[in-house]
Symmetry: none
Subunit: 142 residues, 2 copies
């Protein structure tokens, strides 16, 4: 590891400047590190999907979730996905996209539309989906 | 505290406008629904913090996480927070803010800065923090 990597200075156009310590490479095996999406330099887009499950049809939901993650990864403009669901039931899945067009196309994909319908009618007790333009990123990877 | 920090906090307070929606209590009797943040009409900002823990000092981390959530909720411009950490270790915490100024002020809060330092040196194996402008929101509540 170089000195530069040990003492990072990250700034962005919003004027935020961060002095970052060295990443803990020795503690983070590469497979685990990949759980955090490796995204390009901003700007790009994030879809933040926060949800609560009904608890109904767990198996069907799990299958569909896996399938949708695989299918999303094949779409133009896809940059990555991060899913997490805690013990309290709150799930947050953030997917990252090149631009609004690619998000729109993915939301209109026929197989994804079916999944969305099943989500509304069967799997989700409540959800909020937010589309956001990522303007700055700070990472232990940089 | 430097002059810059003073100016930031003052202008932040002066510039603060709240566009809070009514609570969704009548539509969501359960406490569970409240796990999803009730945010105003976009635009507003989201801070997406994706992290992997070292596994070190779980108790200290838990205490600090709770304290930081309470403290964040007291800051000007705070709109809500959604934390989730899955079994694979990936944690996603999304906090919502009125504007970039309120995010900057919170990141410079002295107690929060101490937490950030401990996070880097002890609790997080890796993380990525993204600042994003929420442009659209779709919710089962609306």
């Amino acid at each position: 590891m170089t000195n530069d990597e040990n003492n990072l200075l990250v700034s962005n156009k919003n004027g935020m400047t961060h002095h970052m310590k060295a990443p803990h490479d020795e503690h983070s095996p590469s497979d685990e590190r990949k759980l955090i999406a490796s995204t390009p330099k901003p700007p790009y887009y994030a879809v933040v999907f926060s949800s609560l499950r009904t608890g109904e049809d767990e198996a069907g939901y799990g299958q569909m979730a896996t399938r949708m993650q695989e299918l999303a990864a094949e779409q133009p403009g896809y940059l990555g996905i991060e899913p997490a669901r805690g013990d309290d039931g709150l799930g947050i899945t953030v997917s990252y996209w090149q631009d609004l067009q690619s998000i729109r196309a993915w939301r209109q994909h026929s197989e994804h539309q079916l999944a969305q319908q099943l989500g509304k009618s069967r799997w989700y007790a409540a959800y909020t989906l937010r589309i956001a333009r990522v303007e700055a990123e700070v990472s232990t990877d940089e």
